[in-house]
Amino acid sequence: MPHLLTLIIFLPLAGALAIAMIPSRQVQLIRTTALIFNGAVLAAVTLVAVLFDRTGAGMQFMESQAWIPQVSIQYSVGVDGISLALVFLTALLGFLACFATTMITKRVKEYFLVYQVLMTGMLGTFLALDLVVFYIFWETVLIPMFFLIGIWGGARREYAAWKFFFYTLAGSVVMLLAIVGIYFAVAPHTFNMMELAHTAPLLSAGLQGALFLMFFFAFAVKIPVFPFHTWLPDAHVEAPTPVSVILAGVLLKMGTYGLFRVCVPFFPQALMTFAWLLGVLGAVNLIYGACAAFAQTDFKKMIAYSSVSHMGFVLLGVAAMNSAGFNGSILEMFNHGIITGAMFLLVGVVYERAHTREFSAFGGLASIMPRYAFFLTFMALASLGLPGLSGFVGEFLSLAGIFVIFPKLAIISAVGLIAVVILFLVMVRKVLWGKPRERILWSDMNAGEVAVLIPLCILTLVVGFYPDSILQFQQQAVDMLVKAL
């Protein structure tokens, strides 16, 4: 399979073309087509994971093709341990979210068209090895997301779509400047990430710092890092359920992935200088996100803010600059994708029944929706970092990593973790416990809804009990990163 990665990237686009051919009346056929193509992507990604050489630290399945030689831009893709986890996550959530797309009834064809384009953008971002190509895929995500939120979203969808678009755009144009800046800074001029990993660390400290901050700003908006996070609650809340899943599960990871792919290997000196900043922001994210989430009355908004909180761990892991921190950080990305994705699915389940997301409308659901109660409790526990479930491993590794460097931050974060615990427990109490309100005659989750959640639950358990199942893929890549520092 010489062009496996290219196939993975453009398979969804092919799906989009196929969907474009189908008349918009044949809704079922469109759905099936989208599902088939996303399933094929998942299968291909799984194949990559199976064929992946876990002992190799470098890029694998590389493809390289000169594109614009005048400015040495190459179409270059490859996968290593860090991107593999995220690509798999993307493919999995992409498939599951596609499967869970049952509530979309208007303009189905257009929905799946943009959805497929979105998939290509996300997969490409994680696989690109050339900064320009990376940027192109990165930006490709914006417009489909703008549509997905703006057309199929909730009541304030337009506001949310605008805000999402412009906020993240503001971040990415800064990244564009930084990309151009790094191109001219290194000798020989190149956009190739593999070469940059060798040449960029040689830059002067000041230059590294400036470029690092520019890149970091771009990623910070996407992650999102306090104080650039306010697009997130709006976008997550207004987006339809499957899109929220993708947003939280994959889009946020683009930012953190960028940290690992760009900020860490290119600017080790700047990373040393600004590690405290990352650490502090991580801790702030963690606590601020949890506290802000706690005060929400909207179920989905609460989950959205809790994402901010979880992303704090990823930042902490990066700030740690050691193997535990990086491993924890990457694992946390993966876990957060799974857990929060599932959380949004669960919010969607009650939203479809209640048509509201206010906590005050719920209560006592455990009595009338036992299956729902199980899944929600399970995922809430995973979110709050219960050992034995996947969330804990990432968080613990991140904390263990940061403790070596900034013990005070680690302690503050550990204490802040209590807020996360309170947050999710109180959520469970508000939604599931208590007396069921009168006149609620909601049905429990149907087979489809359960089927989507089960793989996520299994992954949560497996990673929680045997984290090496994921870690073994990334270990070599992380070791290489750490060694380069």
Binding site: V71, T140, L169
Partner: protein
């Protein structure tokens, strides 16, 4: 002399075509027929262009120059004319009146532009630009019973006459300072030195004002929106690519040919004007509700990006012209889409629900708008990317920053159109049909925008030859 005649064969073909059109109009040929005739002569002229003698000869005793830059720009002018013609043929004109004259004027404008880009003498430049201006006034005023169209024509005239007048005065000063109007001669004289610098600067500003007027650079852009809005859609589209590109070509020809101008602070001026142009253009477009005005201001902003390229040294010129080529396609595409999908002076409400009524049209329009905004993987992104690349290379960091900041601003109003088309619904569900010629121009531009976005080599190779 033979080579001189050979050199202008394309223009001669166009002239013949134009005259034939005038006659055809008099004899009452159908608009469609006239359109084909015009297109035919442009295509023939384009073919003839490839047969003109190689670069290097002096033609018409230096009034025209036969160089590769002029050659490429002539080809570009033919391209722009061809696109405009196709669009005009696809456009739903309200009546059959004055069709012959319309096409005649278009061809005449094309001729004056080809002459302008290959001019070797300031006077020739003035004459060609003045001719183009006069034709443009008439074209803008094409709906002569229409309050808006006539106002547009008059306004264009008022500004145009003043601008060319000022330019002429500047030319006359240059004549006094250099003793010649021949571009090569002026260059030699300037290189020799000893010219009264403030006077030269005064002349420079005056000539710059005249050309910036055509290129719609701030502060000489005030006319743009009013004129575009009053003029018919195809005319506005033509203005937005033909004369604008001409303005830039002449700026390059005149200013980058004068080393003295470049060294005396023009680079800083160019940077400042580029930033001002894109910013003011985008800000003015920000709240527009009239789509034509919106696109007009957008074209002002785009001029700012092109100027940003020019302000970034020699590689920047290449980037600027890459931008101009891409811009021609995407802007023409955007104007064409807007023209076909709505009416004259349509506001944003007219675009509501177009995603339903004309799915293909709305999609293509969105592609053009997104490309204008500069989102990958479309050609508009690469164009902007190269400009930024050159700006950073020339250490114009502020300029590069302004370009990216402006692209955020620009997204706002481009997306507003897209939003109207897709997010909002209307009661009307009647589908909108685009005529065949219209479809052709759309597909042509779409292909260019998409293919050049993924594979920019053809244009880059040509530019590499033009600017060695």
């Amino acid at each position: 002399m033979i080579s001189s005649i050979q050199f202008v064969i394309p223009e001669l073909i166009l002239t013949c075509g134009a005259l034939a059109l005038l006659m055809g109009g008099v004899f009452g040929l159908r608009r469609k027929m006239l359109g084909f005739m015009a297109l035919f002569s442009v295509v023939m002229g384009f073919l003839a262009l490839s047969g003109t003698p190689g670069a290097g000869n002096i033609v018409f005793s230096g009034m025209l120059t036969n160089d590769i830059f002029g050659f490429a720009m002539r080809a570009f002018v033919f391209l722009a004319a061809g696109l405009t013609l196709l669009m005009s043929m696809g456009y739903r004109w309200p009546d059959e009146e004055d069709a012959g004259e319309y096409y005649f004027f278009l061809l005449a404008a094309t001729i004056s532009m080809t002459l302008a880009v290959s001019a070797g003498n300031l006077l020739m430049i003035y004459l060609a630009v003045e001719a183009l201006s006069i034709i443009s006034y008439v074209l803008a005023c094409y709906f002569k019973k229409d309050l808006y169209s006539t106002e547009a024509g008059l306004k264009y005239f008022l500004f145009g006459a003043l601008s060319t007048g000022i330019m002429l005065y500047g030319i006359s000063l240059v004549y006094g300072l250099a003793g010649t109007l021949d571009l090569a001669g002026i260059g030699a004289r300037l290189a020799a030195g000893g010219i009264h610098a403030p006077m030269l600067a005064l002349a420079g500003v005056m000539i710059f004002a005249g050309l910036a007027f055509k290129a719609s650079l701030v502060p000489f852009h005030m006319w743009v929106a009013d004129v575009y809005e009053g003029a018919p859609w195809p005319v506005a589209a033509f203005f937005s690519i033909g004369p604008k590109a001409l303005g830039f070509a002449l700026l390059v020809k005149v200013f980058l040919g004068f080393p003295a101008f470049v060294t005396s602070g023009w680079e800083g001026i160019a940077v400042a004007l580029a930033i001002a142009t894109m910013t003011l253009g985008n800000l003015a477009a920000f709240h527009q509700t009239s789509v034509k005005r919106l696109l007009a201001f957008s074209s002002v902003a785009q001029a700012g990006y092109m100027l940003a390229g020019l302000a970034s040294g020699v590689p920047g010129v290449k980037a600027a012209f890459f931008y101009i080529v891409i811009y021609a396609f995407m802007n023409m595409g955007a104007f064409a889409c807007a023209a076909f999908l709505s009416s004259e002076r349509a506001d944003l409400d007219a675009f509501k629900g177009l995603g339903r009524r004309a799915p293909a049209g709305a999609f293509i329009f969105s592609v053009f708008l997104v490309s204008l905004a500069g989102l990958p993987p479309l050609a508009g992104f690469l164009a902007k990317f190269f400009v930024i690349l050159c700006a950073v290379d020339a250490r114009q960091y502020v300029l590069a920053g302004a370009v990216v900041a402006n692209s955020i601003l620009a997204f706002f109003y481009y997306l507003k159109i897209i939003k109207a088309m897709y997010f909002e619904e209307t009661s009307s569900v009647e589908p909108i049909k685009v005529p065949l010629c219209g479809q052709m121009v759309l597909v042509l531009c779409l292909l260019a925008v998409v293919v050049l976005g993924l594979w920019p080599q053809p244009v880059m190779n040509i530019l590499a030859v033009v600017f060695p």
